[in-house]
């Protein structure tokens, strides 16, 4: 694309995002004592490209808006274009406007990791607040400054348990944990000396207690269970924690819908030694999968084994309260190959969004929001028996998501509903062949009041539909 920049000159181009114009360049070259910028690239020799790379641009703000605007219009998204009941680890919740306005402040948006505490107290204080809130929600003593997202976070929790236990080799994991979380664990564990044992579920849709008890022994590093689990079943962690502790294993509680912690018995109160999962529900847009917000919390005695950053309180030279990054000798920039993990970033801006969200909802608001979610899913479950051919897959309690069993092929059902403008749910078949007749339906406060009725009507229409033939495809 030919440049239309009016500031082009014989020697080169400047650009609004570069602070150097022709005069600046000449003065600086003179000060350095070279004739041209090319001289500064001599060490690259014949690696220097003869032509600039062929990427689109330079575009003005207006042109960028046109381009991305076109991409925007090629999408059909929940709320604006479609009714959506998609969950499965990413949940649509209302987002207070205040969050974005604060995030866009340069003092939060543009700053680096707070390695120099005196000049970064704002960031450090916000993270300290985040750590406190996660500690409160999980019912555990210490939370870190966040991890990338739930799946790698879950893996980090297992690795952390491995570090604590030292000589054991077995990891016992519920199959009702989000399939992608287990996939990521497998990707990491492939190169480490760990044996991963997966436990199935019982007729209630919860992790099979007997199978769990049979699998855990003195070789077990940890037991990991998710609640509400991938099928939406609120199974709790008391039993898993008991079984784990009987054999000296650690109990890891996984949470993918963080809002549930506002209402349900916390991982900490349920005997979990580590709580880990996804906090995207706290004010982060769905954003096609990222950036999201992993959280991890643990008991005080395990704090030195934690991955990720930690902010601690201290004082300055005058005795004034201040916050600093601490226990950083565990991290890779100092311990190198002995590091507790190789994580560099936390997700500071996402953690800030969550902190603001949790502050806005607060003690009573967050609980009430969780209740609203619970009531809506409760209404869905109540209405299902009224639609022939569809039923709740499991009897056990749920929070804001449940597995629905369909007598008709799931792919057909979802496809037809999509044509009617409804994303009815996420099919379980691809990850759980035993449940290929089921799909997950999540309903939150972000669904319009009429959404549930539309869903029920659309499903009811389908149950009156002609049974499909064998050639139906996904």
């Amino acid at each position: 694309m030919a440049t239309r920049d009016p500031f082009r000159d014989a020697a080169g181009v400047t650009h609004r995002l570069l602070s150097t114009g022709e005069l600046d360049r000449r003065e600086m070259l003179e000060a350095i004592g070279v004739d041209s910028v090319d001289q500064l690239f001599e060490s690259l020799g014949d690696l220097l490209l003869e032509r600039p790379p062929d990427v689109p641009g330079p575009l003005s703000d207006g042109e960028l808006r046109d381009y991305f605007g076109r991409l925007d219009s090629m999408n059909a998204v929940p709320g604006r274009d479609l009714v959506s009941f998609l969950g499965a680890g990413a949940y649509r919740h209302e987002t207070p406007s205040v969050i974005d306005h604060l995030l866009l402040r340069g003092e939060f948006l543009t700053v680096y990791t707070p390695y120099q505490p005196e000049i970064s107290q704002g960031t450090l204080q916000a993270i300290f607040e985040f750590q406190t809130l996660i500690s409160m929600l999980t019912g555990l003593d210490v939370a870190n400054a966040s991890l990338y997202e739930g799946a790698s976070g879950f893996t980090e929790a297992v690795l952390m348990a491995d570090r604590i236990q030292k000589k054991r080799k077995k990891v016992v994991v519920s199959r009702a944990i989000h399939p992608q979380y287990r996939e990521v664990l497998a990707s990491y564990a492939r190169n480490l000396d760990l044996e991963i044992v997966e436990i199935g579920w019982d007729e209630r849709g919860a992790t099979d207690r007997e199978a769990l008890a049979a699998a855990v022994d003195g070789e077990t590093i940890c037991v990991a269970v998710q609640s509400p689990n991938y099928f939406g079943v609120v199974e709790g962690w008391d039993t898993a924690s008991e079984i784990a502790h009987e054999h000296g294993a650690l109990s890891i509680g996984v949470v993918t819908e963080a809002l549930s912690m506002a209402l349900l018995k916390s991982p900490g109160d349920s005997g979990c030694d580590i709580a880990v999962g996804e906090a995207q529900s706290f004010g982060l847009s769905l954003a096609f999968g990222g950036p999201y917000l992993g959280f991890l919390a643990t008991r005080d005695k395990y704090k030195r084994a934690m991955p990720g950053r930690l902010v601690g309180e201290t004082v300055d030279a005058q005795g004034k309260r201040a916050w600093v990054l601490t226990l950083s000798t565990r991290e890779q920039h100092i311990r190198r190959e002995k590091a507790t993990s190789n994580i560099c970033t936390n997700q500071a801006l996402c953690a800030l969004a969550a902190t603001i969200y949790l502050s806005l909802y607060g003690k009573k608001g967050l609980r009430r929001l969780a209740e609203i979610n619970l009531q809506r899913a409760g209404a869905l479950r109540r209405k299902l028996p009224g639609v022939a051919g569809f039923a709740s897959a499991f009897d056990a309690p749920s929070f804001n998501e449940l597995a629905v069993r369909s007598e008709q092929p799931v792919a057909r059902v979802l496809g037809d509903l999509e044509k009617a403008g409804i994303l009815a749910g996420v099919p379980l078949g691809p990850d759980y062949p035993e449940l290929e007749d089921c799909f997950l339906v999540a309903v939150t406060e972000a669904n319009a009041a009429s959404d549930l009725d539309r869903l029920m009507e659309a499903l009811a229409d389908r149950s009156a539909a002609v049974p499909e033939d064998a050639s139906a495809t996904a």
Binding site: G12, H15, L17, L18, R25, A31, E42, S43, L49, P52, D54, V55, P56, P58, F68, V77, G79, L86, L109, Y112, T113, P114, Q116, E118, I119, S120, I127, Q131, L133, V142, A143, E149, G150, S152, Q180, N191, S285, G289, P291, T314, D316, R321, T326, Q332, E337, A339, I343, T345, A348, L349, L352, I356, S359, L360, Y361, G362, G365, R367, Q375, P397
Partner: protein
């Protein structure tokens, strides 16, 4: 809340300067007042059932003690106030070496927030998100063009994550060849994530020496490069800001013995648009979109770490990849030799949007100018500061320059002291004590978005501090004086960690 003082003199003891509440904002929990709330809750829209009918009583928790009760105004004030305790890139130079603190264009923020892009659920059918998939496709094409590699995965969540993916791929490729290579070679100047990643992929690390130029000692490499070595991990330019001018020979040595070249792309800002890692013999490269590609650092994330590979490593890329067929774009999960996924869903999509927006704002020639001016600015600083600060390595600097505190040490002043004093002059300090091969390293990277007058300001400050170090070292050692807090006691924070606030006793309650 902070206690009110009994005199009007405030903390400074100066009667003209009373304490101002908004400058001493405490924690959000300390603002809390029972009964306040910061949101309006929507109606459930359904008849409500008793809680007992929906959940067993023993699975329901009580209200959470200590969670804040504040209004929206309280929240706005609180976070606005604490934000002002931070310096910001928008205020001025942030010369952190290796971090590439360059201006974050606001058009990127607008594009990332377009409702059709930001509102998409990751599990939506491909037919409903063709815009997002097309975006990912376009970004990959651009990064392929800029790096000269065959394909780029946009999956990893950050630079270190991309690096981990890169090393895992190397491991997978070696395994696929049926070889049991155990080692990875890493220069002594490398960032700590390099050996950490290698370790997590199950490799053992062997350190390589740097020569007096600060670049890789080819003899040491030749000696250590055996058929037990899977890969060499390099940063180009290296962490001293010096270009590995023998990169072609290095590639020959490594490839000659069947190894791979991993390139840490943290310093891509030095040569983006001017040269391509693919042409240098690099097999796998991770990029930091929050560095070269201006996505905001946000106080420590979120970033994104795409990883690019040469043709022979393509089969091992993380899953999924964006592909295109006659019906449109789709996510390809069917990749049998892939290392699998290393995160949930597809990638840091919101960050990826910002990066593409930046690339298209610049264009190819614009990006070449980025590298040119990044290098020009760094050299301008180097020339001006050379008379005052010691240069441990004499080789030509690219986009960053590394000094040390050797000169100032004679007066008892360290790199840390210089860093703290710079705050009083209105700058965020450069990177300190990295790389480890330089004692007391001071790594300065101005980036191309720093204006000449800002550089001059910075130079003046550094010269002043050098003079202060000589004439009044105690002044420098007591800095900073003008920040919201003075020098913090990091030893106490590590000895007696207080990692959260507690309701009854306030901060610092029982561990």
């Amino acid at each position: 809340m902070t206690e009110t003082t009994t005199t009007s003199a405030g903390q400074s003891g100066d009667r003209r300067v009373p304490d101002v509440a908004w400058r001493n904002e405490g924690l959000i929990f300390e603002r809390s007042r029972p009964g306040r709330v910061g949101v309006t809750l929507s109606d459930p829209g359904v008849p409500e059932q008793p809680l007992d009918d929906l959940l067993p009583a023993d699975l329901v928790r009580d209200e959470i003690d200590g969670m804040p009760e504040v209004s929206e105004v309280d929240v706005m004030r609180h976070y606005t106030r604490i934000s002002r305790k931070n310096y910001a890139l928008d205020l001025g130079l942030y010369p952190l070496g290796s971090c590439t603190m360059k201006y974050n264009p606001r058009i990127n923020e607008d594009m990332a927030r377009l409702p059709g892009l930001a509102g998409a659920h990751p599990s939506q059918p491909a037919s409903t998100v063709q815009g997002n998939l097309a975006l990912l496709w376009a970004l990959e094409r651009s990064l392929v063009e800029l790096t000269g590699l065959s394909r780029v995965s946009l999956h990893p969540a950050a630079g270190a994550h991309g690096e981990f993916a890169g090393i895992l791929m190397t491991r997978a490729a070696i395994d696929a060849r049926g070889e049991g290579r155990r080692y990875v070679l890493i220069p002594d100047s490398a960032h700590g994530t390099n050996p950490a990643s290698a370790h997590f992929a199950g490799f053992e690390v062997k350190e390589l020496l740097s020569n007096e130029r600060g670049t890789l000692d080819l003899e040491d490499l030749d000696r250590q490069m055996t058929d037990e070595v899977a890969a060499l991990m390099l940063t180009v330019p290296n962490t001293l800001g010096v270009f590995e001018n023998q990169i072609r020979e290095i590639a020959q040595i490594v490839h000659g013995k069947g190894g791979y070249i991993y390139c840490d792309g943290a310093n891509f800002n030095a040569f983006v648009g001017k040269a391509r890692p693919g042409d240098m013999g690099v097999d796998v490269l991770h990029m930091n979109l929050h560095k070269t590609f201006t996505t905001p650092h946000g106080g420590g994330g979120p970033g994104a770490g795409p990883v690019g590979v040469s043709e022979r490593l393509v089969p091992f890329l993380p899953t999924p990849l964006v592909e295109r067929n006659e019906t449109g774009f789709y996510l390809d999960h069917d990749r049998p030799q892939s290392i699998g996924r290393i995160r949930s869903f597809h990638g840091q999509f919101g960050v990826l949007v910002r990066a593409l927006s930046y690339i298209m704002a610049m264009g190819g020639e614009g990006l070449a100018r980025v590298a040119e001016y990044a290098v020009l600015n760094a050299n301008y600083l180097r020339k001006a500061l050379e008379p005052y600060y010691h240069l441990p390595y004499d080789a030509p600097s690219m986009h960053e320059v590394v000094f040390d505190d050797k000169t100032q040490h004679d007066f008892g002043v360290s790199t840390m002291d210089i860093a703290k004093r710079l705050m009083d002059y209105g700058f965020h300090p450069p990177t300190v004590y990295f790389p480890l091969i330089v004692s007391g390293a001071l790594m300065i990277e101005p980036t191309e978005t720093a204006a000449k007058e800002e550089l001059d300001c910075f130079i003046e400050a550094m010269v002043a501090i050098a003079r202060e170090a000589e004439e009044d070292p105690e002044l420098v050692k007591g800095a900073p004086y003008t920040m919201p807090v003075s020098r913090c006691d990091e030893a106490q924070a590590a000895r007696k960690p207080v990692l959260r606030w507690y309701p009854e006793e306030g901060a610092g309650g029982e561990d």
